[in-house]
């Protein structure tokens, strides 16, 4: 029995690593393929794609596709727009949605149960169903900017940001997490004289590292991959994000090398964001001892 179980342990470990390895390979190879292909001329790219050379930097390697991509489209503008819109939305969303979750869980007010149910009901609405009404609405909203009051939000950054700051899913994530925080911590802070704002800032937020990271990732993905909405609300190139920018590479003649170069470029912010969050996430767990 003991022998078998010892063997089993080794075997189980080996299987686990094999499975994890396989998953890693499945996830990493498309990225490697993308980057390698972006370095090759189209003809070689197509030849290589049938064999293992697709994953290796061999043959006629150059950065020509990148130069070409920058000539074909305002790549830097697209990346800048996406990073700006995504970054601002993620930050505001964490702030607003966590505050909403805080109010739902810790503060006692009339109607919070009903409101929370309504909020959760919005989770089942696909964005496509409200896209048109929302477009009609934002087209007529006032905005106070450098030119005074203007009507209609189209062709701007805020039209891509404001509608996505608060959403049911993010609030729900915070609500669930806050419910599991020990209520006596909040009560202790109240007895010690802390206001709701102070409790939010000094007690709840410092203990929310894991959920802030989770909510940030989910929001980041949604925002960075926005396509339909920015396509509807921006006609000017200057406000368009990366996913809309991808169109430029499928007009007229499709150059796959350039597509791969563009995709490689727009992946950089995603990787940077993940690495940053991973660090922050681990730091928050280490400092609070609260596990998510």
């Amino acid at each position: 029995m003991a022998l078998i179980s010892a063997d089993n342990r080794g075997l189980r470990l080996a299987t686990r690593y094999a499975v994890l390895g396989l998953i890693a390979v499945i996830f990493v190879f498309p990225l490697v393929f993308m980057v390698m292909s972006s370095l090759k001329p189209d003809q070689q790219l197509l030849q290589d794609s049938g064999n293992l050379r697709a994953f290796l930097p061999v043959g006629d390697i150059s950065l020509n596709n990148y130069t070409a991509a920058f000539q074909r489209a305002p790549v830097a503008t697209f990346v800048f727009n996406s990073v700006l819109v995504t970054g601002v939305t993620v930050l505001l969303s964490l702030l607003i949605c966590s505050a909403a979750g805080f109010a739902f869980v810790f503060v006692n007010w009339k109607g919070r149960g009903v409101l929370l149910s309504i909020l959760l009901a919005t989770l089942i609405l696909p964005f496509e169903t409200i896209a048109i009404p929302m477009l009609l609405m934002v087209a007529h909203l006032p905005w106070i900017g450098t030119e005074g009051i203007t009507w209609g939000w189209l062709n701007s950054y805020h039209v891509q940001i404001i509608p996505f700051i608060a959403d049911g899913l993010t609030v729900f994530l915070f609500v669930q997490y806050f419910k599991d925080l020990p209520g006596e911590l909040i009560e202790a802070a109240r007895v010690e004289g802390a206001s709701w704002g102070q409790i939010y800032r000094r007690i709840v937020m410092p203990l929310s590292g894991p959920i802030l990271a989770t909510a940030a990732i989910l929001k980041f993905l949604v925002m960075y991959n926005q396509y339909l909405w920015p396509l509807m609300v921006t006609q000017e190139e200057g406000y368009r994000p990366v996913m809309v920018g991808l169109q430029y590479f499928f007009q007229l003649n499709v150059a796959w090398g350039e597509v791969m170069a563009y995709l490689s470029l727009i992946t950089v912010p995603v990787l940077a964001f993940y690495l940053y969050l991973q660090k922050a996430f681990i730091a928050s767990i280490a400092s609070t001892g609260v596990k998510g």
Binding site: E187, A188, A189, R190, V191, E192, S287, T288, G289
Partner: protein, 355 residues
């Protein structure tokens, strides 16, 4: 100053009536203990005093102020929770200084007050640790430190020692007693441990099902319990209850007996009793002795527990009911031996059957 007064205070959650009309007066500087079985509403009552639960009806005052509608921060109270509720992301120092930080105290003031609290609680060496690096007893000290540093007029403790082991519990119990003497503040302390209640309290409030059973000094409750519940709840081992029949009533005395008990005349202060009526005779195990000759109670030895200085004997009375005697010397009894027991009638309590 910090006198606390509850007048016909009630609390219900929907249809569940948890506190059913409670009148309690806690004098300034008094150590008041709420005891009672689990679920009787001790924590709820304490949390209502803290302002963490609102009051369904009645009036509550702290000092001269009616606090019914006041938020916790404005009541001048500090609370120590059963789970300690120390902020895990702050050091001990930051935890203890939390209330001062919120109040906007200067760094010098915080340092001085934290140092003083740490000295009183002997935890100077812990100040820069994180809560995850502390033992249960040390966490408890931090929680108490956080409470005393603001010098509140009223301290509220909700079973602060129940997560500690027996030895540490005794240490901390004594320290809380000393702390009360040092600070002179009003303290309300919730526990279901009657030893804590007896040793710490100036005044004990015994609660059951959201109602006050009796309020009084520990020895008053011990020697003169108002009803069966209080009599059975305080004292260890708990009081023996013997079903008896009233044979005669003579002024404020009643003569009672049963199959295992020879007629005995005891005080009938909790009356009125009428002849032929059933009643319950309460005898503290400590006041039951083994009779050298013939005694009033007759039975056989069922179990002996020798504790060294004390011997606890369980006797099966002639009518089949058990009775516990706690003898203050080390004695051996053969199992099944016939034994006669006796007691001073002045130490016996006669109760009407229902509370």
């Amino acid at each position: 100053m910090a006198r606390i007064s509850l007048k016909d205070v009630k609390k219900s959650y929907g249809n569940a009536h948890v506190i059913k009309g409670v009148d309690i007066e806690v004098e300034d500087g008094e150590f008041c203990v709420f005891v009672g079985p689990s679920g009787c509403g001790k924590s709820t009552l304490l949390r209502m005093i803290a302002g963490l639960e609102d009051i369904t009806s009645g009036q509550m005052t702290i000092g001269e102020t009616v606090v019914n509608e006041l938020p916790p921060a404005q009541r001048g109270v500090a609370m120590v929770f059963q789970s300690y509720a120390i902020f895990p992301h702050m050091t001990v120092r930051e935890n203890v200084a939390f209330g001062l930080t919120i109040a906007g105290a200067s760094k010098a003031e915080k340092d001085a007050k934290v140092a003083e609290a740490a000295r009183i609680l002997q935890m100077e060496h812990l100040l820069d640790r994180r809560p995850s690096q502390l033992s249960g007893g040390q966490r408890q000290r931090v929680a108490i430190g956080r409470a005393i540093v603001r010098k509140p007029q009223v301290f509220l403790f909700d079973e602060p020692l129940s997560n500690l082991d027996a030895a540490l519990r005794m240490d901390m119990r004594m320290e809380i007693g000393k702390l009360h003497n040092q600070l002179g503040a009003t303290m309300i302390y919730v526990t279901h441990d009657q030893v804590e209640a007896m040793t710490l309290a100036d005044k004990i409030v015994v609660l059951k099902d959201g109602k006050v059973m009796q309020i009084g000094a520990p020895m008053e409750l011990y020697h003169n319990p108002a009803n069966l519940f209080v009599a059975g709840f305080l004292g260890a081992p708990s009081m023996n209850f013997i079903d008896v029949t009233v044979q005669a009533v003579n002024g404020n005395k009643a003569l009672v007996s049963n199959a295992a008990l020879d007629p005995v005349e005891v005080s009938a202060a909790r009356g009125p009793f009428t002849v032929g009526e059933k009643a319950i005779l309460g005898l503290r195990p400590q006041y039951v002795q083994v009779a050298e000759g013939a005694g009033r109670l007759h039975g056989t030895v069922a179990l002996t527990e020798r504790l060294g200085a004390e011997t606890v004997v369980e006797v099966t009375l002639k009518d089949g009911k058990p009775l516990i005697a706690a003898l203050s010397q080390d004695r051996v009894f053969p199992l099944g031996a016939a034994v006669d027991l006796d007691f001073d009638p002045a130490t016996a309590h006669l109760f009407r059957p229902e509370v």
